[in-house]
């Protein structure tokens, strides 16, 4: 089966105008404006199969949102090709978006601010020509899953951020899209609601085979939802693969040692001291340079040890390392 998304070498640049601070500079810029091209995407290729939940991560300004917008067909790239669900998103925009669902984060809700969310739901029913029976069934099911049955009858402006997010999620899925883009779906959402949203996405993914593309800064989204992640940094896809591989790619192990009494300052080849305070010693071992056994031996023969724990670095640490590259 053909992949749901196949994009090759997407590039996008923006023109930005530069000027110094102050009134004088403002006048100067009236006469001669200096502009600079900023490359948001420098050639991103991506392939996504049906039924995947793909996590798209990267630091601010890395190009995630630009990529999502191009994939949704709302932004023209400078160059590159794409075939998504058999369409070119930006050239066949209207036919293409009929088949996708989008949540563009909390600031760009598609709900009508002054009306209850149900009004937007019914609007979507008409716009996407969803049969009444199917619409009723889906709306009831989703509302129950996300626990918003009463909320959707209050004006959207009276809802909290998390409640709005949930209604937006429903709005994006009512027309049974084959592919759904979620741009930061859990910003400002409390832990319980977050869990509900995770469950919800899993359920829809499983029951309907919907493909999801999720961008996020929240690592719990990644760990709960995505088997595969793509890391975007400085306009390039710097990693594309399973989450587990990404973790194991980094050979560092963390050792946390509790001592019975304060010891001398720690120093050993291939090790980095993260913290040494009183009886606590935390070190990071680069297993390419040094094996754990030797480190343990060194510690046990030089310190009086109460307890040792060996852990993999947190996913956050791993991501930070990629970002810094």
């Amino acid at each position: 089966m053909a992949p749901v998304i196949e994009v090759k070498d997407l590039k996008k640049s923006f023109k930005t105008y530069h000027r110094g601070a102050g009134l004088l500079e403002a006048f100067k810029s009236l006469v001669a404006r200096k502009h600079k091209l900023v490359y948001a995407l420098k050639g991103v290729s991506l392939k996504v199969e049906k039924g995947e939940i793909l996590g798209l991560i990267g630091p601010n300004g890395a190009g995630k949102s630009t990529l999502i917008k191009i994939l949704c067909g709302v932004l023209y790239p400078d160059s590159g090709s794409a075939k998504i669900l058999g369409f070119n998103p930006w050239e066949d925009r209207i036919k293409y978006v009929q088949n996708i669902g989008v949540v563009f984060g909390p600031q760009k809700s598609q709900l009508n601010w002054d009306l209850p969310a149900v009004d937007t739901f019914f609007f979507i029913k008409e716009l996407y020509e969803v049969p009444s029976k199917e619409f009723g069934k889906r709306l009831a099911y989703f509302s129950k899953l996300l626990n918003v049955e009463d909320l959707s009858k209050r004006p959207v402006r009276n809802l909290s951020l998390g409640e709005r997010m949930k209604c937006d999620l429903i709005a994006a899925l009512l027309h049974n899209p084959k592919l759904v883009f979620l741009d930061e779906p859990t910003v400002g959402v409390d832990l319980i609601s977050k869990e509900r949203i995770h469950e919800f996405i899993h359920k829809v993914n499983k029951e309907e085979g919907t493909t999801f593309i999720v961008t996020t800064h929240d690592m719990s989204d990644i760990e709960k939802l995505c088997k595969r992640i793509v890391v975007i940094n400085k306009g390039l896809a710097v990693y594309d693969g399973p989450l587990a591989t990404l973790k194991s790619k980094f050979k560092e192990k963390h050792l946390e040692i509790k001592l019975t009494e304060k010891g001398k300052p720690f120093s050993f080849k291939g090790c980095k001291v993260l913290e040494q305070k009183d009886i606590i010693l935390r070190i990071e071992v680069n297993t390419n340079l040094q094996n754990i056994e030797a480190v343990m031996h060194h510690i046990l023969s030089n310190y009086k040890v109460l307890d040792i724990t060996i852990t993999d670095p947190e996913i956050e640490e791993v991501i930070k390392k990629i970002y810094r590259k």
């Binding site: 563009f104 984060g105 009508n112 009004d119 008409e126």
Partner: protein
């Protein structure tokens, strides 16, 4: 196809329903501005001791102003500002992610709002015109023709506003263009006084411009200011301008989209 369009129309009307206070406020303001015209022209007519100004009796002229008030309901659109706002805060991508052209999205929503405004906000003023100033259609035929002409005028003026609004894809700040657009065209389309008041020279210039077809043409057809043949010719011109502006929008749209950079995250 039609169902999609209708969904926008309905949303537009629902939007306005949320602002009941604003609607009643506008009705009051309409009454105020009409009474200013009333006193102004009352003074002019009595001071110059005449019953006719450029072929208008006093109560015909008041009827004219009441109809410009009706036309104002579709002419005073803030659709272009809404486009510009949504470009500035990046929310336009939400509209673009829907299966409809942006033209349809905005014009259909606007039509929904307008129909609602016409029904609720303008109706009391029309009734006042009928009762106080003997506001009547010139004949049954001119009533029928004016309904056709008004319908085209609504569509025409909205496509025009959309077209001008597209310039906000190129401009950082659109509001200047908006004021120019609404103030200037309101005079040129006969909103401030009947174009028959102008010297022949200006009338000849205005006839080749599209503006009078937004307001003046349908009002004059209603009041029976034209023979039916002239009225049909004018409706033909309205349709011509409709096609021209539609073509201009289609021409400008890909360029606007190429310029669009979806600001803000």
């Amino acid at each position: 196809m039609f169902r999609k369009t209708l969904s926008f129309v309905r949303m537009g009307a629902q939007n306005l329903l949320a602002y009941k206070f604003e609607i009643s406020l506008f009705t009051i303001i309409s009454f105020l501005s009409l009474s200013i015209y009333y006193f102004l022209w009352h003074t002019i007519y009595s001071y110059s001791n005449t019953t006719l100004v450029s072929g208008f009796t006093f109560s015909q002229l008041m009827g004219y102003y009441i109809l410009t008030n009706f036309a104002g309901a579709y002419f005073w659109s803030d659709m272009d500002s809404r486009i510009s706002d949504r470009i500035r805060d990046g929310k336009l991508i939400v509209d673009l992610a829907r299966p409809a052209t942006l033209l349809k999205t905005f014009v259909a929503t606007e039509i929904g709002q307008t129909l609602f405004v016409l029904a609720v906000q303008t109706a009391p003023i029309i009734i006042m015109g009928v009762l106080l100033f003997n506001l009547r259609a010139g004949s049954l035929l001119s009533l029928v023709l004016s309904i056709i002409s008004f319908s085209i005028a609504i569509l025409l003026s909205m496509i025009f506003v959309f077209f001008v609004g597209l310039s906000s894809f190129w401009l950082t700040r659109y509001h200047g263009v908006r004021y120019a657009r609404s103030a200037l065209t309101w005079i040129l389309c006969g909103g401030v006084f009947p174009l028959a008041f102008l010297p022949q020279f200006w009338q000849k210039i205005l006839i080749i411009l599209p503006f009078q077809h937004f307001v003046y043409t349908p009002i004059q057809i209603f009041l029976g200011g034209y023979t039916s043949i002239t009225a049909l010719e004018l409706i033909g011109l309205q349709i011509m301008w409709l096609v021209i502006f539609y073509g201009l929008v289609k021409l400008a749209w890909p360029r606007a989209m190429a310029k669009f950079s979806a600001a803000g995250g």
